[in-house]
């Protein structure tokens, strides 16, 4: 498996192209399905409808109905079926129309996919990818707007990825499909249409799971984020720069295993850190980062770790309340200034 760093490629590879996250994900799946006959895609509306959010556009035409399978609305059933198919030697990609519906199937993801390698004394293994949009879309209310990052990252036996850019989405999805373990791959509906000029066309190019990326260097404060919040963190960094604060923005990319080394390295330099995530504060990714900093970087901290999170409430529908419930650039700027003791 190639695990070359795209940071290097960025300098050497002129073949990087611009694609939307949606297209990059589709290409990633298509390349892996071409490479490996055992890879197949299954989920609601993935085939004839080309995906509820058009992520699987064209895959049915390209690979046929044996390998691009429309399921009934039976998440618990088809997630379990995917686990069985993986036990049986296939490499399923199971799409949840959104991760909200993975709650119907969470028992199979955790009890069956994540734990069986351990319970079988290493015999079994479950190479499967559960993917789909995660987190809040826009104005779809409490049952359709939830971030599952910390839910899945909590569980040993799973890998959890949540990319931001199109290039990362493709290279990490390819890595997830090739990985011999169950991987939860958290996408974001609002990012699907966003384009990035960092997509490698090299079919063998994959990114290592478990490596964060420093998206912006800075010496004054570390901002960690994943998925759509990386964009907000970068915006906040621009604003902070205007006020003379140089923020370092770390795109976590993988949540389990978390790239603790990269975070520590940054904090050793900046001595201040703010964690940003869309999910609820309690027992969130930010709570974990705060604990890890206590354990590994306590002596380097000049201020308490701060968390910027979604409000601790089910997502409201009303436009004004939804805005208040989600982390905004303003709150990131404010938190960064607070740990810098600036007002």
């Amino acid at each position: 498996m190639t695990t070359n760093q795209r940071e290097d490629i960025l300098m050497t590879d002129s073949s990087l192209i611009t694609l939307s996250v949606r297209e990059a994900l589709r290409d990633g799946m298509a390349e892996e399905m071409t490479r490996d006959e055992t890879v197949f895609l299954m989920g609601e509306e993935v085939a004839e409808y080309n995906g509820a959010y058009k992520v699987s556009q064209g895959l049915l035409d390209q690979f046929g109905s044996k390998r691009v399978v429309d399921t009934p609305i039976t998440e618990h059933g088809f997630a379990g079926l995917g686990v069985g198919a993986a036990f049986g030697g296939l490499r399923p990609i199971v799409e949840f129309m959104t991760f909200n519906f993975s709650m119907q199937a969470i028992d199979q993801i955790i009890n069956s996919a994540a734990k069986t390698l351990y319970m079988s004394g290493g015999q079994m293994g479950c190479p499967i990818v559960f993917r789909g949009p995660n987190g809040a879309a826009s104005r779809v209310g409490a049952q359709h707007s939830q971030c599952y990052a910390s839910w899945y990252a909590h569980c040993p036996g799973l890998k959890v990825i949540s990319p931001y850019s199109a290039g990362d989405a493709k290279a990490l999805l390819k890595a997830a499909i090739r990985d011999p373990n169950p991987v939860v791959f958290l996408e974001n509906e609002l990012l699907y249409g966003r384009s990035f000029d960092d997509v490698s066309q090299d079919q063998d190019y994959v990114l290592p799971i478990g490596k964060a990326l420093v998206r912006r260097e800075g010496k004054d404060v570390t901002l960690t984020a994943f998925s759509i919040m990386v964009g907000k963190a970068l915006e906040a960094a621009d604003r902070l720069a205007e006020e003379g604060i140089e923020a370092e923005v770390i795109d976590l990319r993988t949540l389990r295993p978390l790239d603790v080394d990269t975070i520590i390295e940054s904090v050793v330099k900046t001595n201040r850190i703010v964690s940003i995530e869309e999910s609820w504060p309690f027992a969130g990714i930010g709570s974990e980062i705060a604990a890890l900093m206590m354990e590994h970087a306590f002596d380097y901290l000049d201020a308490p770790v701060l968390r910027v999170t979604g409000a601790d409430v089910p997502m409201p529908y009303a436009a004004n309340l939804e805005h208040l419930a989600l982390p905004q650039v303003d709150s990131i700027v404010e938190a960064a200034k607070a740990v810098c003791y600036r007002t």
Partner: protein, 328 residues
């Protein structure tokens, strides 16, 4: 057509169906204007199903459904103003703007939602029936689901419990032939949803959901059965949704001809109107008066939904628990 339908009942049924149709048309417009956002699933085409069922219910009966719920709420006699204002996310909405199109409730009208997770309402409806039996209030729960939802495992777990404990629940399958872009032929092995309770001895029947009288008769048999203590009943209604699954669905998976055919030959409101005029000899001007009243009612709802203020920011942290949750 049932002889039991009096002129007054007929006029009410017509009015209720028309209210749903006009309400949904306006909701569609408001969506286009950006006043409604997110998911919005219209009930146009399926009006006879909820109105027919509601016409045989008793005050203590309970109703629960999924996200295609505006019709159920209006049929339950919930205030169109409160429903529309919830669609626009305003404080005058049934959930004070916090629920949206898919999540509205009314304890007063015994409407228990408004659920966004396909199939989840079915065991909950079974639980409402459990409560009816427990309290001996002679109530029945109507638990509605789509053809797509009918494949969720929890539906069958519910069937078993309801049959085992003889719970007063009527499972209603609104078979509109599609679950999002997937036709029933592609989602379901075996075409008969009404027969899926057989293994548990649950009686079931299928009726034409575009004909109010047929819905009403079937609903009467089903609720009589459940109310008399004999346990659950399954009703499948053959119906059709005219619009896309939600506002963002161009519905390319079916032909224009298919949709037009239903609209022209099977429209539930047209059909019932003809029946009122030809069989019940109801005069055109009586019908016209209803048309006018409905139009007015919907316009008032629209106006209210535009002028009702957004919820106060403090509402963000209310209703999380029964007690006030302290701000962190």
């Amino acid at each position: 057509m049932p002889k039991s339908l009096t002129e007054k009942e007929a006029l009410k049924a017509y009015r209720d169906m028309l209210l749903i149709r006009r309400f949904e048309e306006r909701a569609s417009q408001l969506y286009g204007m950006g006043l409604i956002a997110g998911f919005c699933h219209l009930y146009i085409g399926q009006e006879a199903v909820v109105v027919g069922i509601q016409s045989v219910l008793k005050p203590q009966d309970t109703v629960i459904t999924a996200y295609r719920d505006h019709g159920h709420m209006l049929a339950c006699d919930m205030d169109p103003k409160g429903v529309m204002a919830e669609l626009t996310g305003r404080s005058g909405g049934y959930s004070r703007g916090k629920g949206g199109s898919m999540h509205m409730f009314s304890r007063e009208k015994n409407f228990f939602g408004g659920h966004g997770i396909v199939g989840a309402q079915v065991p909950i409806g079974t639980g409402l029936a459990f409560a009816h039996k427990y309290k001996e209030d002679k109530g029945v729960c109507i638990a509605s689901m789509g053809d797509g939802a009918s494949n969720q495992g929890q539906v069958y777990e519910s069937y078993n419990m309801a049959a085992l404990w003889k719970l007063p629940v009527v499972y209603v399958i609104e078979n509109n032939h599609y679950g999002m872009g997937t036709s029933v032929e592609r989602s379901s092995a075996g075409p008969n949803y009404y027969g899926r309770g057989q293994g548990w001895g649950i009686p079931g029947e299928k009726a034409d959901g575009m004909i109010l009288g047929e819905v009403r008769e079937a609903a009467q048999r089903a609720t009589d059965h459940a109310r008399s203590g004999k346990g659950p009943y399954i009703l499948e209604f053959d119906t059709y949704r005219y619009r896309g699954h939600s506002m963002s669905d161009p519905a390319k998976y079916r032909s224009k001809e298919e949709v037009e055919d239903v609209k022209i030959h099977h429209d539930p409101i047209d059909h019932f109107k003809t029946y009122m005029i030809e069989t019940l000899k109801i005069k055109e001007d009586q019908i016209k008066a209803i048309d006018d009243e409905v139009k007015e009612t919907v316009l008032e709802a629209v106006e209210f939904s535009k002028t009702s203020p957004e919820p106060d920011p403090s509402e963000l942290y209310t209703d999380i628990l029964k007690e006030k949750v302290p701000l962190q």
